[in-house]
């Protein structure tokens, strides 16, 4: 159940329809769009670490 909730939350963030107009740049160069996507990938990676350790069990 938690896996489904996490997946749906990540999908919702991927669509980001509510996001305000971009700000930035961050760190002197990084566009907000790239920063947001990299943060999203970081969350997706954490989700996968958890998923592969708990939901995906060895046969």
């Amino acid at each position: 159940m938690l896996a489904v909730v996490g997946f749906v939350a990540l999908l919702a963030l991927h669509f980001d329809l509510w996001r305000p107009l971009p700000a930035g740049p961050y760190f002197g160069w990084m566009p907000e769009e790239l920063l947001f996507r990299l943060l999203w990938m970081g969350l997706a990676w954490l989700y996968l670490l958890w998923f592969t350790a708990t939901v995906w069990r060895e046969e």
């Binding site: 997946f7 990540l10 991927h14 669509f15 329809l17 971009p22 740049p25 760190f27 002197g28 160069w29 990084m30 566009p31 907000e32 769009e33 790239l34 947001f36 996507r37 990299l38 999203w40 990938m41 997706a44 990676w45 989700y47 996968l48 670490l49 998923f51 592969t52 995906w56 069990r57 060895e58 046969e59």
Partner: protein, 490 residues
């Protein structure tokens, strides 16, 4: 002779020598059995499996097509493609790859099509899957050869044309794939993957330094077109198209027969799980530079037209990296192209021999596979010459959409016992029918989604409905495929 050209030729010769040597080293083991040739004895551990999958996954689509696309559409190309696949690809490895690997081992299947043939006890399923895999893979192979050709032409100042470059790339891939089978392609993929990954990381720092630093590089882009630094509004950025493409780019990879075959070669589930943990990190390392090189190119080369967008990567490598490292940019593309091309040649030839040709060829699979690979390489080369001016992204998109329509069959086949042979045939046919109408220019009521979205819906619906309307597979056959435990439990 131009010293730069000499440097390029030497670097290329060294690269070819290494991949041919690896192919030759794998030859002795490849000749032991068909399982060894086609699946490396089902013994690929985490590192080689990861590099084989990643190397195979990344082709000139990423190194040529994505910079070209970012050059035209800006930074939004990253979120459109890279971010979502970091989650989507590993999850498809879990949902389809892991049960498929276990089922293939249980049934003794060596190819993706053979797995489904044995799963259903139906040769027709294997033949239909082979036909669709081939149909969708041909354009994907062609874009790889075109990408390599463009890169060579650009790197040599058009001294070496696309025709010659394409021929050499196809021939070399053919030789080492024919020699060493899966093990050769896996070993060469480790070398090739490292080469293009390291180059892209180096390119990120060296190119930005050449442009005056990261801030200055971005400022140049903003000066030319600030819209390139935000997610755009048209093209594939419209919400429903964004959703459709997110689905395509996430699902398509498991539909690549050359990726699917590599998953079958994993030594156990543990290796697959570890690969899934590494995948997002490698994707970020490769895609951030790929997109930014295209975006920076928009600021650096305002003279470059949209029709030549695919040349932006090599032009950036030539003009914004130290001269000594230039050849590595060319080799990075070559490595990415060949690491996919070899796997495609191997997988399609193995499916033809084992799933589509008469049983009389049993015992001579390896020889027949090698002969087919030669014929296939020839067809790809001719098509590359015919489609030379087409965009790498556009050709890849066509292939990706096709592969995505195979996912319902691949998924239901390994996760749903009630799925029948008739359903497995109806599903890809229904998906293809919708795509064919769209590709043929028929205006379908898509509700703002891409036609491929509805093609996948049709494929799922056909698979489910036809399966429920036809007799279930006998219990013994299903037990042989799924084993003692019920599917979906892990």
């Amino acid at each position: 002779m131009d010293p730069r050209l000499v440097q390029l030729l030497i670097a290329t010769a060294v690269y070819f020598a290494v991949v041919l040597l690896l192919g030759a080293l794998a030859t002795r083991r490849a000749s032991r059995s068909a399982e060894e040739y086609f699946l490396a004895g089902r013994g690929l551990g985490t590192v080689v499996l990861f590099m084989a999958l990643f190397g195979t996954n990344c082709t000139s689509f990423v190194l040529v097509g994505i910079p070209g696309s970012a050059f035209q559409h800006g930074i939004g190309v990253f979120g459109l493609n890279a971010a979502v696949v970091a989650l989507g690809i590993p999850l498809t490895f879990w949902a389809i790859g892991a049960p498929a690997r276990r089922m293939a081992k249980r049934l003794g299947a060596l190819t993706p099509a053979e797995l489904y043939t044995r799963r259903f006890g139906s040769r027709a399923v294997g033949v239909v899957l082979f036909a669709f895999f081939t149909l969708y893979t041909l354009p994907y192979m062609v874009q790889a050869v075109i990408g390599a050709g463009i890169t060579v032409a650009q790197a040599t100042g058009d001294a070496v044309g696309v025709e010659v470059a394409g021929l050499v790339v196809v021939l070399i891939a053919l030789v080492y794939t024919s020699l060493g089978g899966m093990r050769a392609t896996a070993w060469t993929n480790v070398f090739q993957g490292l080469l293009f990954l390291l180059f892209m990381v180096a390119a990120f720092f060296l190119m930005s330094r050449s442009l005056g630093g990261l801030g200055e590089a971005m400022a140049r882009v903003e000066e030319r077109d600030p819209g390139l630094l935000v997610r755009g509004e048209g093209w594939l950025f419209e919400p429903r198209k964004w959703a459709s493409w997110g689905m395509v780019i996430s699902l398509t990879v498991i539909g690549f027969p050359h990726m699917f075959a590599r998953l079958l070669a994993a030594d156990d589930d543990g290796s697959l799980r570890r690969v899934c943990r590494l995948y997002p990190l490698a994707l970020a390392l490769l895609w951030v530079p790929a997109v930014l090189i295209g975006v920076w190119g928009a600021g650096a080369f305002p003279d470059l037209g949209a029709a030549d967008a695919d040349r932006v990567f090599q032009r950036m490598a030539s003009e914004h990296m130290p001269a000594w490292i230039g050849p590595f940019g060319f080799l990075a593309v070559l490595a990415a192209v060949m690491s996919t091309l070899d796997a495609q040649l191997l997988t399609l030839s193995s499916m033809l021999v084992r799933d589509a040709l008469p049983a009389g060829l049993r015992g001579r699979e390896v020889l027949a596979g090698r002969l087919f690979a030669v014929g296939l390489a020839l067809v790809v080369y001719v098509l590359a010459l015919v489609w030379e001016r087409a965009s790498v992204f556009a050709i890849s998109r066509m292939a990706f959409e096709g592969y995505t329509t195979l996912v319902p069959t691949l998924l239901l086949g390994v996760r749903w016992r009630r799925f029948t042979a008739a359903g497995a045939i109806a599903s890809p046919c229904a998906g293809f029918a919708v795509l064919a109408l769209a590709w043929g220019g028929v205006a379908l009521p898509t509700g703002g989604f891409l036609p491929v979205f509805w093609a996948v819906v049709a494929a799922f619906a056909a698979g489910l409905l036809v399966s429920l309307a036809t007799p279930a597979q006998d219990e013994a056959g299903a037990d042989a495929a799924f084993g003692a435990s019920r599917p979906g439990s892990s």
